[in-house]
Symmetry: C2
Subunit: 360 residues, 2 copies
């Protein structure tokens, strides 16, 4: 979908709600304009887009002025030296804007308070996830970028496997993954998780100086970015010959994944696959060791809608790309998590992964 | 300073303002409790601290429950399965809290709105940067971590220098920096900038597939984390023999840095060194090519107070660690930026860098 078409779809969605829309989410910014820069932090934005019925601006500070010029020509760059709020005050008054939609998830409460003080004549409104709804359904070009992103991630993971041996540290493996992610792609889509033994019981473990030991489970959860699009894959290995316990936990997680995938299709409730996985674990008496939801959407953001969680009230749709990643965690021992990415299409899904499941 | 002392100082500062304080800033969370996890994104927090006069809790979801147990024992872990807002609703009602301070910079407007709906009986207040004020002044242990962090960054930078030659890509150099940052430290403190030729005119350039060419300027801006503490160093090189223009720009930036450092001392206005650097550039007719401020505080966050900007109204204080990093940027040609870290102490400062300045 061209930037022009994306803008026109978004205008249809937001203009009934307000005269202008301020886009501060980095992924939405990129999706609409091609502006590639990421924010330094919540407190330090790389800029914003401002859309009205006719106009489209990219607002940024001088550090990013060259990147702003390289965006879609649909956007007119405005470089501010005194902060985004001051720039908006002037621009909105010039454009005679009286109502402005804001992205509540991608805006700090502090920024909102400062904006409200300056823009006393403008009605500020919480935007629903309008851009996210367009982003949820991937077009052919986006799907191609995700395929390529996952292909590279799998190649990196495969090249790491021969290095899994007792004595190597989690950090050494993580460093190799990251180095390859920057060399072969645009970098990691998130800091890779390389977690062995008891660390594997931390779903978001940070790689440590711990050395791998014989018989331990090892979770590697990693991905890269390609044209901005994220991949996300998890495989669990056993360092050396697996014991009975490893095999049992592994089989159970794999079974939960397979059962969940049987009910994974457009039109199905997004919570159903998660409930099915939970049921597999419940029957085995380990439901309390499943600490997260089954999966999440992936695209320009590593975690985006839909959420495959028992708490979701949404239905799945054709065109979504989601992860399927059940896991079981036992603090004294470790854990097993297995994750694929799938593309939902009429009647079911297409698995995007090529790598299968094996212990080592 | 022990966690106990940090908490006691913070309680003195916040209790006159409200009965409880919710800490959502990742760096503040770590500074007060040792909780090391980082947020996935603004929309996906790893948890929060809740402080009252007597109690201290670490609130997180099951993914981080093991990390929560490893925090300072001053904090009681509360693991939530239905979101932070629901957990807070129950806990604040149990504790009979009627007023709650929030960190406005580290809280999304959406989260605030959801909280306000749930906590109708609790007065929600914007907190001033109370934890940041304690963090601004580094104690001996923190300074040691920063020294070590910078030492490792300099070693990595030195080991990269022999690889600077025509034909190598920016990304290949960046990948090597990152790999070493993970192997020798806790990873990079920010995605390294490796920007050559015209890319060096983008202060926050992302490393590209562009190959280095003879005669081009090359900016490398990088740092690592050690015990959570960031380093930040920039050097500019010339690929091959430098032409006259490179030498002139380099000398001018170095001169601006040296002049600015003459007025860098506790008690001085934080804007003064930046104004001095600007004046050097103004006299040379290139003030418009200096696109950012002179420097920033560094600690658990890569950018933290004080800001060495002409817009600042603060005074510098002994115990602060700041960068000094003037730069000049010319879109068709490239740029030069030179950055050291310094520790402010009575009468002036101590340079923390060991590496000097050279082109190659």
């Amino acid at each position: 979908m061209s930037y022009k078409k994306r803008l026109s779809r978004l205008r249809k969605a937001f203009l009934p709600r307000a005269e202008a829309f301020l886009i501060t989410c980095p992924e939405n910014r990129r999706f609409l304009s091609g502006f590639p820069s990421e924010d330094v932090s919540l407190q330090e934005s790389a800029g914003a887009l401002l859309l009205t019925r006719k106009e489209a601006f990219i607002l940024t500070d001088p550090r990013y002025q060259e990147e702003a010029k390289e965006c879609s020509p649909l956007f007119e760059p405005r470089i501010y030296r005194h902060g985004l709020e001051a720039e908006l005050e002037g621009l909105l008054s010039l454009l005679k804007v009286r109502s402005l939609l804001l992205e509540p998830h991608c805006l700090s409460w502090a920024f909102f308070n400062r904006l409200q003080k300056r823009l006393s004549a403008v009605e500020l409104k919480e935007a629903p996830p309008l851009v996210e709804r367009i982003r949820e359904i991937k077009d052919a070009e986006e799907l191609e970028a995700i395929r390529k992103s996952l292909r590279i991630a799998e190649e990196i993971l495969e090249s790491i496997v021969p290095r899994i041996r007792p004595g190597i540290t989690e950090k050494a493996l993580a460093a190799q993954i990251i180095e390859m992610a920057y060399r072969r792609a645009e970098g990691p889509s998130f800091p890779p998780i390389v977690a062995s033994g008891p660390n594997a019981a931390k779903p978001h473990a940070e790689p440590s100086e711990k050395e791998l030991r014989l018989g331990e489970p090892l979770i590697i959860d990693m991905g890269v970015k390609w044209c901005g699009y994220c991949s996300d894959i998890t495989r669990t290995f056993c360092v050396g010959k697996p014991e009975q316990r490893f095999k049992e936990v592994y089989s159970l997680v794999l079974k939960a994944k397979e059962e969940a995938e049987k009910v994974l299709a457009p039109g199905e409730l997004a919570k159903r696959p998660d409930l099915v996985a939970r049921e597999v674990f419940r029957r085995a008496g380990v439901e309390r060791n499943y600490w997260h939801s089954l999966g999440h959407g992936v695209g320009l953001a590593i975690h985006e809608p839909p959420s495959l969680s028992f708490r979701s009230r949404k239905k799945l749709k054709a065109g979504q790309v989601v992860t399927v990643e059940p896991g079981l965690y036992f603090p004294d021992w470790g854990g097993v998590r297995l994750e694929d990415m799938v593309f939902l299409k009429e009647g079911g899904f297409e698995r995007l992964n090529r790598l299968g499941f094996w212990y080592l």
